[in-house]
Structures are given as C-alpha cells and as structure tokens.
C-alpha cells in the first residue's frame, strides 16, 4: 500500500483553481521532488498533504500507519523567526508536540527523542545558542531536527535551500539524502531542478495539473525537462 495517495485532487483559493485533478502515489522510501514554475500549485499541494488547507474535492489517503499529524514538515522561514529568541533545544523539542495531545508538559521519553535527533544532525555544539544567532544552514539543520522529532516516516520540505550559500546547500542535500537512505520518505518542493535530478528518485512536475510523474532518469530525457531547464541545455 502507498504511503500517500492523492486521487483527483482539486484545490483552489477563492475561485482560482491552483491544483487541478491531481492524482499520484508516493511509496515508502521514495525521494520525490515536486518541481514547477512559480504559481504552479506546488506549495498549495504541499499544504493539502499537510492538512493546512482543505481540498475542494478529491481525496488524500495515508497508508502504512501514517497519520496526518505524524508528518515532519520543514516550512519556509517566516519573518517572525528571523529575530526570535529561542534556544536550539527549545525549537527541536517543540517537534515532539504532536505526541502530546492535550497533556501540557514534555516527558523524559520526548526529551530523549529530541536528544537523539540533535546528535543525528550534529547540532549538539550549538544547543545553548539562540536560534537568531545561527547561520542559515544551521537554522535549517535545527528545523530538520525538529521535523524528525515529529516523524520517523515522512518529511515534507518546502524549498529548503532558499537563501543558503552553495556549501550549506550541498550539506543540506547530503543530509536529506542520508535520511532517505535510512528509510525516511522525502517529499521536497524545489526550484533547483539540477539538484532535484541529481538527488531525487522521482520527479513530480506540476503546472496546475500533473505534467510528469515518474523516475528522475526518465524525466531528464523528456522534452518537458529540457524546456524547463531552458538556457542550460542550449548553452
């Protein structure tokens, strides 16, 4: 059974349809990149998968014991976070909230999960630091650790390398790849097609509708991909 399956999904803002009749399945262990131009409905689709926005019609079902609030999410950074006084530890621990229900305080078991993910992403040395003092790459690591506290199965990333320098970008991609090898399913919205082709196994090309969904190698040969890459191929 698929981890996530979308069937005839329609999503809209007011009367503007941004996701039109989209169907696809994501299997356990996949590394899927959602690509497409601005306004092609990539981020909206992601919001649908996360339950942040209700679809107009169609359905999203979760298999393999995955629940909607057990998805690790790496959102785009907001203005609020830029000068937010929070220690790295506080941010990572807040990923455990979905295990809490209505109970108010964290337990030792949850602290242990946070600790484990801090070690996994080697951010133990900046634990006491304030989130606002970190570099862009470090901030993304912290948010990744938080996302891992919420899930062991599925990570959704919304343009995670925006604003990172090339070194930090390569590091982050490496880390995501490593997590995928360890069995975490990855779904990533990305502008960076070259990196998507390099890292992902599957590509979902959105332009309101699904233009392509299949293995990355196959996508690379398609005319769609060549057009999307544009100048790179003619140069």
């Amino acid at each position: 059974m698929a981890l996530i399956s979308c069937k005839n999904l329609w999503m809209a803002y007011e009367n503007q349809v941004v996701v039109e009749d989209v169907s696809f399945e994501i299997q356990k262990g996949d590394y899927v990149c959602i690509v497409g131009e601005n306004g092609s409905g990539k981020s909206t689709l992601l919001k649908g998968l996360l339950g942040l926005k209700t679809p107009k019609s169609g359905e999203i079902t979760y298999g393999e014991g995955l629940k909607q609030d057990m998805i690790g999410y790496l959102p785009q950074q907001t203005v609020v976070q830029k000068d937010f006084p929070a220690s790295v530890w506080e941010v990572v621990l807040s990923g455990c909230l979905n295990r809490r229900g209505w109970k108010p305080f964290y337990t030792a078991a949850e602290r242990k999960i946070a600790q484990k993910n801090i070690e996994k992403l080697s951010i133990g040395n900046i634990l006491k630091k304030s989130y606002r003092e970190l570099s862009g790459g470090q901030q993304q690591r912290v948010l990744l650790a938080r996302a891992l506290c919420a899930t062991e199965k599925l990570l959704l990333l919304d343009e995670p390398v925006t604003g990172l320098d090339p070194l930090a970008t390569a590091e982050l991609y490496g880390m995501i790849k490593q997590l995928n090898r360890e069995g975490v399913t990855i779904v990533m919205v990305s502008h960076d097609l070259n990196c998507a082709l390099h890292n992902a196994d599957k590509i979902l090309h959105m332009d309101t509708q699904v233009r392509f969904f299949g293995p990355a190698a196959e996508y690379e040969k398609s005319p769609l991909c060549r057009r999307f890459l544009g100048g790179d191929f003619h140069a």
Partner: protein, 276 residues
C-alpha cells in the same frame, strides 16, 4: 525601605492596587512576549481603547464597569485577531481605526453625562483609587485563571508563536491558541486598565517583552526575565508615585522605559563584546 513599605501598605486602597497590579504586571508580561513576537502588539493597544469606550458607557448607564467591559473587550479581541490574521497591513490600519473610534465614542458618551472630569482622567491615565473590594476579588481571580491557563499551554504557545505552519501541521489547533491568547490579553487589559489607564496599559504588555529580548537568548529566559522585570518595575513605579506624589500609571511606564534603555545598552555592549 521598610518604613516606605509600611507607609505604603498602611493605605488600604494602595494595598489593593498593589495586589491587583502585581498580578496584572505578571500576566501582561507573559502574554506580551507572544504578542510582540507574533507582531500582535497593536491588538493590545486597540483593546485598551475599546476598553475605555466600554468603561465610559458603563459609567454613563450606571452599570458595573467590569461586568460591561469584560464581554465587550473579549468580543473586540476576537474581532481584532480576525482582522490581523486576514491581512497584515490592512489589519494594522483597521485596528487604529477601531481604537480611535472607540475612544471617540467613549469621550462623547462621558461628555453627555458628566463632562470631562476627574473620572475620565482616571480612565485614561489610571487611578489607584479605582479598585473597590469586589473589584479586587474579581481581578485576582481572573489573573490567577490567566496565569494557570498560560502555564498549562506554555509549550503549545511556544510552538504556535515560533512557527504556526509547523504547529498546525503537527496537529496543534493553532486557531484555538490564537483565540486563547486574544482572550487572556483582553482579560488582562480590562483588569489592568483601571490602575494603569487606557492610554498606558499596553506599555505593560509591550515593554517587559522587548526589555527581556535585548539580553535573553531562550524563550523561557525571555519569559522569566520579562515577568521579573515587569513586577519589579511595577513595584518601583508605585513606590516612586507614593514618595513623590506622581501619577501611578505614568510612573510605572517611565520606570519600564528606564529599565528598557538599560537592558538595550547591556545587549549592545554584550553584542560588541562578542564581536570584539
């Protein structure tokens, strides 16, 4: 020092004002951290103006001030929250609009009944004589409820403040917590308005949070520092007002300002030391 305290607490009205004031300062500081970080500071200001309008109308009609202003301000809080969630820039203007309208209506209503007199001055800039025995009981009970709810929801509040999208994706009812924040803020403002005045109460929400953020690195640190700063400033402000016969609310605000400047300087020097 002891003489000063003994002197202050020998007046029952001052003791009442201190009891309520310290609790309000505590609530306002804790809520203020979330409000300031979420860019909701304007809501606090808007609510206090609405509170002034409600108080004037209650007085004109001869009703109990708290019984009228609590529901009015709570409703206004939900309304303002809606506005600021929908669109940030428009929300800003809309809040200013509502705030000044409520103020204007309040002033007109009072001018019809008693004219601009000491009562109105008291609403606007606070009066330590305002608290009756029942007011104190009601205010203390409300403050305790605010504090308890806040402590129980602390972790969720952090998540919702830091990253609403992530919190919502992991199953936190962010709308509920935003409403709770607005509700608790509304209650705190209504209680605090009598002592601090409608024009000055929002400083109690904004100053301690900003002061603590100058130097603290963690959310918990900011919370604890803001709470401590707020209570200390309230105490010092009241003592100053007692010693030098200054208006109580204004003294508290000025003490807050001085402490903010000191913390800002400390933060600046600390930042310089880190780079130097």
């Amino acid at each position: 020092m002891l003489e000063l305290l003994a002197g202050m607490f020998s007046y029952p009205f001052l003791t009442r004002a201190m009891c309520v004031g310290v609790l309000v300062a505590l609530c306002a500081a804790l809520l203020g951290v979330s409000l300031v970080l979420k860019r909701y500071s304007m809501i606090g200001d808007g609510l206090s103006h609405v509170g002034f309008g409600a108080l004037s109308i209650a007085m004109a009609l001869g009703l109990a001030p708290l019984a009228v202003s609590v529901p009015v301000v709570v409703i206004a809080a939900f309304f303002l929250l809606r506005i600021s969630e929908n669109s940030q820039i428009k929300g800003d203007a809309a809040i200013a609009l509502i705030a000044s309208s409520a103020l204007a209506i309040g002033v007109i209503v009072t001018s019809f009944t008693s004219g601009m007199n000491a009562d109105v001055y008291g609403y606007m800039f606070g009066s330590i004589l305002a608290m009756s025995e029942e007011d104190v009981v009601f205010s203390v009970a409300l403050s305790v409820v605010v504090l308890c709810l806040f402590v129980l929801c602390y972790n969720k509040m952090f998540a919702v403040t830091f990253d609403e999208a992530f919190a919502q994706a992991t199953g936190v009812h962010t709308k509920f917590y935003n409403m709770l924040l607005a509700l608790l803020t509304a209650l705190t403002i209504v209680i605090g308005m009598r002592i601090m005045g409608a024009m000055l109460i929002s400083s109690l929400i904004i100053f301690p949070a900003l002061t603590a953020m100058r130097v603290c690195k963690s959310f918990r640190g900011v919370m604890i520092t803001a709470a401590a700063v707020s209570v200390a400033c309230f105490f010092v402000g009241m003592a100053a007002s007692f010693l030098f016969s200054l208006p109580a609310g204004a003294s508290v605000v000025v003490v807050n300002l001085v402490v903010f400047l000191l913390f800002a300087l400390a933060g600046f020097l600390k930042g310089r030391a880190a780079f130097g």
